[in-house]
């Protein structure tokens, strides 16, 4: 029996477990650790509330969790409650699948201190009931325009939530608190700003289509710019089926689109604007000494520079033209990507791409250039560069982009690597740490755990006073969420407070 642990309970972790238990149900025991009491990561805290069908995948995760050789340990923070080196002693193989908990910055002065400026990730986590983001200072009442920087699916998710009719959102699992803010919201216009052109939009057709179908919402674009850019890239577009379909959809709605300039002056109640070839250069803030708020600046607008595209037509770069324009807004959400953190300073970490260097999910001891992206398919690393028994899956492995299917494939790839290693009796992290004399391994080992400590992780956590939340506990919390939701006509009302979750687990 091989003992395996997975750090993180999002789709990367669960799909890795699903494939492993599907292939070797008798020979593997998997313990999954999650920092928060409640599992499922971005399926719960990232997927938009109005996309319940995407969340159906939770039923698959439930199946995995019901496997007799699978244990879920919620509310266990690896690095605090248990160290990584302990995991390496307790388990034969360790899979890191804790995703990307941070986001990229635009690099603007005051970005992290100005009221009204935040990341879309935080905003999404707030309306999805993530415990860490419930105290986020959200003000949707002092501005009629929100600006979202970035043109991916997260950007459209937040635009959709800000502009959807309330009765639509009220039927979702969005938190009651967020719904209350949205009821009072004065935001009628959302500008979705991309540094490149319409041929480089990163969102998918489904999300674009959804925006086009929101009742009472008009699209605004600079038609000349869009036509020019799409025309310029037409040969490239013709070769890319998804892009071609999205472009066709765009053309279909172009005639009825409002001009992007002064879209809100056109008398339309609600608009969303796709602004292309623009990059924010400066935050325009009220001066500190205004009585409005003595402590923090509040956002009043942003200065955007117009760009032009240079370089290859299939993947051009945006280059500033020096033309700057001010856009009035009181809410700026940056949606330019997530970022992973290193769990442990002794682990290899590619600080440029913010991923753990790996070959098909096997963690590499050297900072090899992103092995997942190499051109050819012969990407098996030579054995001396692999950190035995250590694996990575999901966004931490290949970078924070893509949808469920990409994370699933990616998790399967890691699982296949693990299965191959088990079949071919490759070293485990346990054997390495006990027998190897390699200096790197010794360094990675850290302190050797006290032999008197319990070999079973449950006892060890109990000794340390950690209240472990099991999957059965979570299902009880979930039943409470369903019951709460039912009284409001929602699929569930999420419990958003960790202390409350733990109290409820103790008392039920």
């Amino acid at each position: 029996m091989q003992r395996l642990t997975i750090v993180g309970s999002g789709p990367a972790g669960f799909y890795t477990a699903a494939r492993l238990l599907g292939r070797l149900p008798e020979r593997l025991a998997i313990d999954m650790f999650e920092k928060y009491p409640i599992p499922h990561g971005l399926v719960r805290y990232g997927v938009a509330p109005d996309h319940p069908e995407v969340k159906s995948v939770i039923n698959r995760f439930d199946e995995v969790a019901n496997h007799p050789n699978f244990r879920y340990f919620g509310n266990v923070n690896i690095g605090q409650d248990l160290s990584l080196s302990e995991l390496r002693h307790l388990y034969d193989r360790v899979v890191l699948a804790y995703g990307a908990s941070q986001d990229k910055l635009l690099g603007l002065t005051g970005e992290e201190t100005t009221r009204g400026v935040m990341s879309a990730r935080e905003f999404v986590a707030w309306y999805n009931g993530h415990p860490d983001f419930q105290n986020l200072s959200i003000d949707l009442t002092s501005t009629d325009t929100a600006v979202v920087i970035g043109q991916g699916n997260v950007a459209l998710d937040v635009a959709r939530v800000l502009l959807s009719p309330l009765d639509t959102l009220a039927k979702t699992d969005i938190t009651e608190n967020a719904l209350e803010h949205l009821r009072r919201s004065k935001i009628r216009h959302v500008r979705v700003v991309g540094r490149r052109g319409p041929a480089q939009m990163q969102f998918t057709t489904k999300e674009f289509r959804e925006m086009l179908h929101i009742p009472g919402l008009r699209l605004a674009v600079d038609r000349d710019l869009v036509t020019h850019e799409l025309n310029r890239a037409k040969h490239h577009i013709a070769k890319q089926r998804p892009l071609k379909r999205m472009t066709d959809l765009f053309y279909k709605h172009m005639d009825s689109a409002l001009p992007s300039r002064d879209a809100k002056a056109q008398g339309s109640d609600k608009t969303w604007t796709l602004d292309f070839l623009q990059s924010p250069r400066e935050l325009i803030r009220n001066p500190l000494d205004q009585p409005l708020d003595r402590l923090t600046h509040a956002l009043q607008g942003t200065a955007v520079e117009h760009n032009q595209l240079v370089g290859p037509i299939d993947n051009p770069r945006a280059e500033g033209t020096g033309v700057v324009e001010n856009v009035e807004t009181g809410l700026l959400l940056r949606s330019i990507g997530y970022r992973s953190l290193s769990l442990d300073p002794t682990l290899p970490f590619d600080t440029r791409q913010c991923i753990i260097p790996n070959a098909s999910g096997r963690i590499l001891t050297q900072n090899q250039p992103s092995s997942t992206y190499v051109e050819d398919n012969t990407r098996d690393a030579s054995p001396n560069t692999v950190l035995p028994g250590m694996y990575v899956s999901g966004w931490l492995k290949r970078g924070p982009s893509g949808i469920i299917v990409s994370t699933m494939s990616d998790a399967f790839e890691t699982a296949e690597s693990i299965l191959q290693d088990i079949e071919s009796n490759q070293s485990t992290c346990r054997t390495t740490s006990e027998t190897s004399s390699s200096s790197l391994v010794t360094e990675l080992d850290g302190a050797v755990p006290d032999k008197s400590e319990s070999a079973d992780v449950s006892d060890r956590l109990a000794d340390r006073g950690v209240q472990v939340v099991t999957y059965a506990d979570w299902k009880k919390l979930e039943a409470l969420e369903y019951a709460q939701g039912a009284t409001r006509g929602k699929p569930r009302e999420k419990i958003t407070d960790v202390a409350k979750m733990l109290d409820l687990v103790r008392s039920t």
């Binding site: 039923n59 998918t204 489904k206 992206y373 970078g399 469920i404 990409s406 699933m408 494939s409 790839e413």
Partner: protein, 171 residues
């Protein structure tokens, strides 16, 4: 959401729910969170076949080239057939057209007989790995007599960056 029927007959196939004793969520249902896909584990019981009359076969070919021929009924979707027979086809969104994890590849002659995919299915196919000219979502293709004995190819679930033409995003 239209069920796929055969051209030129444009036959509407009966909904799945007709199988007594087997509850199957109807396509297009948005009854989250209570939706459950029934994995039809006992679907192969001969009693059910006798009850429903038709007996068709379909051969799945795995990415590794392994063939598995299984029996099924008229009206079954390829996703349901795969699940009933422990064939690796995910179906993460449980046939609600919100993912592409049940991507399958058909023979051209079968593909051509099917109705065109809907915009929603195409949106998801856009995101499938290793998309081909004859790709469909397994949850949207339902068996009928004229498809008896057909072959369904499962694409590699593992993303192959080189094949997909995937390029890392510029920073």
């Amino acid at each position: 959401m239209s069920l796929i029927s055969l051209h030129p007959l444009k036959r509407m196939l009966p909904p799945l729910g007709r199988f007594s004793g087997v509850s199957v969520r109807h396509l297009g249902s948005r009854s989250y969170p209570n939706l459950r896909v029934t994995r039809l584990q006992d679907y192969n019981s001969s009693a059910l076949w006798k009850m429903n009359g038709t007996r068709l076969t379909v051969t799945f070919v795995t990415p590794e080239g392994q063939k598995k021929t299984v029996r099924c009924n008229e009206g079954d979707s390829l996703l349901e057939i795969a699940h009933a027979n422990n064939i690796d086809l995910e179906g993460a969104c449980e046939a609600s057209l919100a993912c592409s994890t049940c991507h399958v590849i058909l023979d051209e002659n079968i593909y051509d007989q099917l109705e065109e995919p809907s915009d929603e299915e195409n949106d998801m196919l856009d995101l499938a790995f290793g998309l081909t000219e004859t790709s469909r979502l397994g949850c949207q293709v339902r068996m009928c007599k004229d498809m008896d004995g057909m072959t369904v190819y499962l694409p590699s679930a593992t993303r192959n960056m080189a094949v997909d033409g995937f390029k890392p995003k510029p920073h």
